[in-house]
C-alpha cells in the first residue's frame, strides 16, 4: 500500500517535471528553466550563496585558529584543515585527544599570566566604556535635545576628531604620557601616565567618543519632550531626567554605543601595544600577552592561537548577550515613529 503510494507520488512528480520533456537539457539549463518559472528559487539560491559565503569568510579564520591551537607543537609546520596528527582511530585506544593538543588552552595561562592580561584589557575596556557612555550621554543630550547657536558646526567638529587616524595622535601623546607631571605624583608613583591604564583609557575615550555621541544624539533626540518635562515636574533635574528616563528608554542605543566602544577598545592594537612596556603588572592588555609567546628562538603559534581564542571569548559572549539590543539599536536609530 505504502509502496504504491510512494510510486504514485513519484509518478506525479515525474509528471510535473515532464511538462516539457521534448527538449533535452543539461543540468544547468534545467535549473535555469525552473528558476525562470519560479523566480523565488533564484532569490533563495542567491540568499543561501551569499549567506554561506559570509559565514565561511567570517568563521573560517576562527576555525583555522582553532586548528592551529590544537596542533601539537612538533607538527606546527604542517597545519591543515584538521590538526596535523589528528587521528580518530586513537579514540579506540583510549586517547580522548585523538592526537591533538587541547592542553594548549591551559598552557596559555601557565607560560605567562595571561589571565592578568585579560583582566587588564577587561578593566581598560570597561572603564573606557563607562567614561564614554557617561560623557557621550551628556553630549548626546545637548546635541539631541537642546537648541543653541553653533550646534551644527560643533557636532561637525566632534565628528572631525574621529576622522583622524589614531597614529596622528600617538607621538605627542606618548611624549606627554612619558613626561613626569608633578601634580600627578600623589596618584601615580612617578607622575607619568606611561605604564598605567590611564595611558590607554584617556586616548581611547577620546577616539571612540564621537561615534557614541553620534549614536546617542540620534536616540536621545527621539524621546518625546513630554516625558522629560514630566520627569522634571515630578522632581528630577535635567540631569536626573537624562539618567532616569531618557537613558533607560534609549537602552538599545546605549547598548549599541557601549558594546561598540567595548569591542573597539578590547580589540585595539596600536595604543595598547605602545603605551606600556608589555608587562602584565604594568597594565599591558591582551595584545601584549599574546606577543609574549613569541620568543627569540621560537614562536609558539599554537599557544598564540589558543590565547587569541580565549581572548575573544568575552567579547563573543557580550555580543551574543547584547545582540538583540544591538540589532534593534543599529536599525531603530534610523526610524522615527
Amino acid at each position: 500500500m505504502s509502496l504504491e503510494q510512494t510510486d504514485g507520488q513519484k509518478v506525479y512528480t515525474n509528471d510535473d517535471d515532464s511538462e516539457e520533456p521534448e527538449i533535452d537539457r543539461g543540468l544547468f539549463e534545467a535549473w535555469a528553466a525552473k528558476t525562470i518559472k519560479n523566480p523565488k528559487r533564484t532569490y533563495k539560491a542567491l540568499f543561501y550563496t551569499a549567506t554561506i559565503f559570509f559565514l565561511v569568510t567570517t568563521l573560517f579564520p576562527f576555525y583555522w585558529l582553532f586548528m592551529v591551537a590544537l596542533t601539537p607543537r612538533r607538527n606546527l609546520q604542517d597545519v591543515g584543515l584538521v590538526p596535523s596528527g589528528f587521528d580518530p582511530s586513537l579514540l579506540a585506544q583510549g586517547d580522548l585527544t585523538m592526537g591533538t593538543n587541547p592542553g594548549v588552552f591551559l598552557e596559555v595561562f601557565t607560560i605567562i599570566p595571561f589571565h592578568r592580561y585579560m583582566f587588564n584589557s577587561f578593566v581598560i575596556a570597561t572603564v573606557t566604556t563607562i567614561v564614554v557612555i557617561i560623557v557621550a550621554s551628556l553630549a548626546g543630550y545637548v546635541f539631541g535635545r537642546l537648541r543653541f547657536p553653533g550646534k551644527g558646526p560643533l557636532m561637525l567638529l566632534v565628528l572631525i576628531v574621529s576622522f583622524f587616524p589614531p597614529a596622528a595622535f600617538f607621538i605627542p601623546l606618548n611624549d606627554l604620557f612619558n613626561t613626569n607631571i608633578d601634580i600627578l605624583r600623589p596618584i601615580l608613583a612617578d607622575g607619568s601616565l606611561y605604564n598605567t591604564p590611564y595611558a590607554m583609557v584617556v586616548p581611547f575615550s577620546a577616539i571612540f567618543m564621537p561615534l557614541s555621541i553620534f549614536i546617542l544624539t540620534t536616540f536621545y533626540s527621539q524621546i518625546p519632550d513630554g516625558l522629560e518635562d514630566a520627569a522634571r515636574i515630578e522632581g528630577t533635574t535635567r540631569l536626573g531626567a537624562l539618567f532616569r528616563v531618557i537613558m533607560p528608554l534609549s537602552a538599545p542605543g546605549v547598548a549599541t554605543a557601549g558594546v561598540l566602544t567595548f569591542i573597539a577598545v578590547y580589540n585595539e592594537f596600536f595604543f595598547s601595544f605602545l603605551m606600556t612596556d608589555g608587562s602584565a603588572d604594568n597594565w599591558a592588555p591582551i595584545v601584549d600577552g599574546i606577543l609574549q609567546y613569541q620568543g627569540q628562538y621560537e614562536v609558539l603559534f599554537n599557544v598564540m592561537a589558543a590565547a587569541s581564542i580565549v581572548g575573544v571569548l568575552p567579547v563573543a559572549i557580550l555580543v551574543v548577550v547584547a545582540q538583540e539590543k544591538i540589532v534593534s539599536g543599529l536599525t531603530a536609530g534610523a526610524l522615527k515613529e
Binding site: 513630554g226 516625558l227 518635562d229 514630566a230 522634571r232 515636574i233 515630578e234 533635574t237 536626573g240 528616563v245
Partner: protein
C-alpha cells in the same frame, strides 16, 4: 496656599511674543481654565507656571513664594500632559510613585499614598500593569494619580482630555470635577474646547495672541464678554456680529436698526459700533410678547435650517441679495437664530424677527472693547453699564 500670581509675565522667542504682559491672580482652590485658539500662548503660559520655560520678563509666584527662577521640582506643582507622558519603562506603581521615590519617602508612606491616589482615580488592582497594556482612559487616570499623589499646591493640566475619544472625554470631565471637589486644590486647566471650559471652571481666562482678554466666571464671559474676541470665541455657534454706526436714534446698519438713546450707554453719535446678539436671543416676532423688552421687528428670509434635536439653527437673510456665507458671524446681512425644535419654519420663508434688547451687546468696532451689554428702550431708564475689563 495654592494661589498663583503672574505679574507682567512676558515670554518672547526670537521673532514672536508668545505671551504679552500677562497678569493673573488665581486664588487657592480655584479651577481656572485657559482657553483660546491654537497658538494663542495658553500652553506657553502654563509652561512658564510649571517652570519648563523661563519668562522673558515678569514674575511668577506660587503660594506666595516667588518661583520665577526655581526649577519645576521645587515649585509645589504637578502636571498632567496632553500626551499623557507616562514613563513607558515603568509599571503603574513606579509611575505614580516616581516623584515620591525621588523625594526619598519611606516605602510604607509611598505604598499608602499610591494606594490612596489609585483609589481616587479608580485604578485598584492595576498597579503592576505596564502603560502599554492599558487603555487611553486608564493611562490618563494613571497620569492624574501621578499628579495628585504628591499633594501639590497647584495642578496644571495641559489639554489632558484632548487625546481621548468623545465619550471618554465627557466621562473624564465629570471625574475631574469630582476630583476637584474632593481635593479642593487649585487647578489650572488648558483647553481649546470651550465646552470643557464652560462646564468645569470657576473662572475662564480667555487668551488671544498672547494677551489675556478676560478672566471671569464662565457665565460672565458668556453674558458679558469684555470684547469682540471673547464674544465670538465663547459660545457655539458664535455670536452674530453686525457692523454699523450710532445715530441719534440708536444703532443703525444697512439692514438692522435698534433704537436706543446713545447717551444712556455712553457712545457718541457717529462712532462705529458692532452689535452682537447670540442666536438664542433672536426671536420670531410672534413670540415678541414673551420678551420684556424686544426691539422693533425686522423682515428676514430663512435660508438654511440646521435641526440639532433640542433646537434648530436657522440662517436668516436680511436682504434679498444675501447668500449664506461660511462665516455668519461676520456677515452684515445675515443672522443666525436658534429656535424651538417644534418650530414649523421651512426654508425660504418670509418672517419678522426681534432681538432681546437686554441681550444686545455693543462693541467699539475699532478696538473691539465692549461698550454695553443690554440696551434700554429709549423710553425706559438705562440699565446698568458693564465695566469693560480689557487690556488695550
Amino acid at each position: 496656599m495654592g494661589n498663583v500670581k503672574l505679574e507682567h509675565m512676558t515670554k518672547r522667542y526670537d521673532d514672536v511674543t508668545a505671551v504679552d504682559d500677562m497678569n493673573l491672580d488665581i486664588k487657592d482652590g480655584e479651577f481656572v481654565t485657559f482657553v483660546g485658539p491654537s497658538g494663542c500662548g495658553k500652553s506657553t503660559t502654563m509652561e512658564t507656571i510649571a517652570g519648563l520655560t523661563k519668562p522673558t520678563e515678569g514674575t511668577i509666584s506660587i503660594s506666595g513664594r516667588d518661583v520665577t527662577n526655581l526649577p519645576p521640582k521645587d515649585r509645589g506643582i504637578s502636571m498632567v500632559f496632553q500626551n499623557i507622558a507616562l514613563f513607558p519603562h515603568m509599571d503603574v506603581f513606579d509611575n505614580i510613585s516616581f516623584g515620591l521615590r525621588l523625594r526619598k519617602y519611606d516605602d510604607e508612606e509611598i505604598q499608602r499614598r499610591v494606594d490612596r491616589a489609585a483609589d481616587i482615580v479608580q485604578l485598584e488592582n492595576m498597579q503592576d500593569r505596564m502603560p502599554e497594556e492599558m487603555s487611553g482612559g486608564q493611562r490618563q487616570r494613571v497620569a492624574i494619580a501621578r499628579a495628585i499623589v504628591r499633594n501639590p499646591d497647584v495642578f496644571l493640566m495641559d489639554e489632558p482630555l484632548a487625546n481621548l475619544d468623545a465619550k471618554l472625554r465627557v466621562h473624564m470631565r465629570t471625574e475631574l470635577q469630582r476630583l476637584h471637589k474632593e481635593l479642593d486644590t487649585t487647578i489650572i486647566y488648558v483647553t481649546h474646547d470651550q465646552a470643557e471650559a464652560m462646564t468645569m471652571s470657576d473662572r475662564i481666562a480667555v487668551i488671544n495672541a498672547g494677551k489675556l482678554q478676560q478672566i471671569d466666571p464662565p457665565l460672565v464671559c458668556y453674558n458679558e464678554p469684555a470684547n469682540l474676541f471673547v464674544a465670538g470665541f465663547i459660545g457655539s455657534p458664535s455670536m452674530n456680529f453686525i457692523e454699523g454706526t450710532i445715530t441719534d436714534n440708536g444703532f443703525e446698519s444697512e439692514y438692522v436698526t435698534v433704537d436706543f438713546d446713545p447717551s444712556t450707554v455712553g457712545v457718541t453719535v457717529g462712532s462705529s459700533i458692532t452689535l452682537g446678539i447670540r442666536p438664542e436671543d433672536v426671536y420670531e416676532s410672534s413670540k415678541a410678547h414673551t420678551l420684556a423688552d424686544p426691539t422693533v421687528a425686522m423682515p428676514v428670509t430663512t435660508d438654511v435650517l440646521e435641526p440639532m434635536g433640542d433646537e434648530i439653527f436657522i440662517y436668516l437673510l436680511l436682504s434679498e441679495a444675501a447668500e449664506t456665507s461660511m462665516d455668519t458671524a461676520q456677515a452684515n446681512d445675515q443672522l443666525l437664530m436658534s429656535t424651538d425644535p417644534d418650530s414649523t419654519l421651512g426654508e425660504d420663508e418670509q418672517l419678522e424677527v426681534v432681538l432681546d434688547r437686554s441681550k444686545v451687546h455693543l462693541f467699539d468696532t475699532a478696538s473691539g472693547t465692549a461698550i454695553s451689554h443690554g440696551i434700554a428702550d429709549p423710553a425706559v431708564a438705562s440699565e446698568s453699564e458693564a465695566e469693560p475689563s480689557t487690556d488695550d
